[in-house]
Amino acid sequence: MGDFSDLLESHGVTRREFLKYCSALGAALALPLSMTAKIAEAIESDTRPPVIWLEFQDCAGDSESLLRANRPTVGDLVLDHISLDYHETIMAAAGHQAEASQQATVEKYKGKYICIVEGSIPTEAGGVYCTIGGRTAVDILKQVGGNAALIIAVGNCAAYGGLPAAHPNPTGAKGVSEILPGKTIINLPGCPMNVDNLTATVVHYLTFGAAPACDRHLRPLFAYGKRIHDNCERRAHFDAGQYVENWGDYGHRQGWCLYKMGCKGPETFHNCPTLRWNEGLSWPVMAGHGCVGCSEPLFFDAMMPMYRRLPNVPGFGVEASAVKIGTAIVGASAAIFAAHGAVTTARNWKKIGKAKAEAREEISHLNSDSDSEES
């Protein structure tokens, strides 16, 4: 307890600010206000589990997201200063020392520590595409992740394979849940993940000793329970039928809906519109660019082309959309039947004329019959 308040003080964070942060976290997790004290207690506790941050095939974007604050916030302190025992990018130790500290934590806190994974895991060619200290990513993940209390896969790469798994996926990149099925895994996809969601997930675990409720893709419902489209500030323009048609046109300058510019908000579950980025400053759609769907399992392939709503289909030429294939199907059937109709009519032309003549004759017979009946 003493340690933590000292640390807050040394970073110029007052107790009041700390408690405010705790209640904000509670709000992010959709918990009642009465839980604030429990959250604060959990964060201050000395029994916090250590965190090991593994980095595989990635761009360190999630680490950037973690470190992006221009001044250390309480969230940074919780994650970075307090609990992180191993993080290749930001730790002081290097080489064998670093690996030794990682192994020490694994041994000492077996089954108790939190493992955060960033980046996808290559499986092709025996996993040689990503090795650290002579060990493959698969090997490290199975040992360090396998002995963790829970694994948090941050960013789309760690969650579902992300960009490295995009077609043709030369390294056989996979997400954590494919390497360690059955393990308690929380996915925080995004490109990168939003660090506030990571802090909230960690704090949820500290407070309740359990992972938050997740959806079928193992994403916490507090952060991925609603579609971007349904919480979007431009949603009213969507329903009204006001769309950006070109970049920089009138609608774009007016902040209209980006649906026709290929915004993937209608198929993406994330709390970007409510939580926003960079300390609540902005988020892509607010800044005038459509969502690219980075928190969905099908990112990257199915979310491309970036500026079209629906994906293209491989095997039907370079850019074949549902509309092109569909138009071809309808067009072909219309052409076939039109041709059949024309040919049939032409071939039976004489027959039709003959039938008409005979019908006329028949009708005149009928008429004469009725005439005779009348008389």
Binding site: D215, R216, L221, G225, K226, R227, D230, F238, D239, A240, G241, Q242, Y243, Y259, K260, K264, E267, F269, G293, E296, P297, L298, A302, M303, R309, L310, P311, V313, A322, V323, I325, G326, T327, I329, V330, A332, S333, A334, F337, H340, G341, T344, E358, A359, E362, H365
Partner: protein, 233 residues
């Protein structure tokens, strides 16, 4: 009318006798109603669905147009689903021509023969096809395919709709689809199947008119009246 029908018996010897010996009630009322409900649903769903895919009318003249289009699309989708369920009931419990008993039996030699006769007819390999009351066996197979497309459209449509409320019962009932194919591909197929149904529509319309000409069996009028001539001669 009776005189015309039986003119051969009266010894008129005319060429243009009606080949029908009598008329049979083939399509029951509910089947015809379902057919036309489906027809109008498909027209409305295709139009509003296309608008949702590509909003070609802007709000200048019609405020809240996307909201209204989506409302009509969802409402029509519900009507279509009810119509689909009603048809499913008639598939199980309807009379012969509307029910599963009409399906060609692949283990029956005669059914197989009729099926291939129609395949040869449709592929221009033979000129004549026997007259069949109700659906011919190839048409039955086509309608089973269409029924599957309808089922997919309804399931995927409700699944996409349910994404607005992932905590709701609709999502619980249909969300499993997203575990099989991702939601972008659900959208993609939902759009593509519209075109497949469009292709079927052209085929269906042409074939009905063609058979009406060819077998003079009142194909077109039967879906309004329910009656078809019994002319298995």
């Amino acid at each position: 009318m009776a005189e015309t029908l039986n003119s051969s018996e009266t010894g008129g010897g005319r060429k243009f006798e009606c080949a029908a010996r009598r008329f049979l009630y083939i399509w029951e009322g509910p089947i015809r109603i379902i057919h036309w409900v489906n027809f109008f649903c498909i027209i409305i769903l295709s139009f509003t669905g296309w608008y949702i895919h590509d909003p070609f009318i802007t709000s200048t003249q019609h405020p809240y147009i996307m909201g209204n289009m989506r409302y009509v699309h969802y409402l029509t989708g519900v009507v279509f689903a009810v119509s689909f369920l009603a048809r499913s009931y008639w598939l199980l419990n309807g009379e012969y021509y509307a029910s599963w008993r009409m399906f060609p039996n692949p283990f029956d030699k005669k059914d197989r023969h009729t099926f291939w006769t129609f395949i040869r007819y449709y592929t221009f390999l033979s000129k004549d096809a026997p007259h069949i009351l109700g659906h011919n066996p190839v048409a039955v197979v086509a309608y089973i395919g269409l029924y599957a497309l309808f089922a997919f459209q309804i399931l995927s449509g409700f699944a996409l709709w349910s994404q607005a409320d992932p905590g709701g019962s609709l999502y619980a009932a249909t969300g499993w689809l997203f575990a099989i194919i991702g939601n972008q591909w659900v959208r993609w197929f939902h759009l593509l199947v519209m075109f497949l149904i469009g292709g079927f529509f052209i085929n269906h319309l042409y074939s009905v008119v063609l058979f009406d000409f060819k077998s003079k069996s009142g194909e077109v009028s039967s879906i309004f009246s329910g009656w078809k001539p019994d002319r298995r001669d």
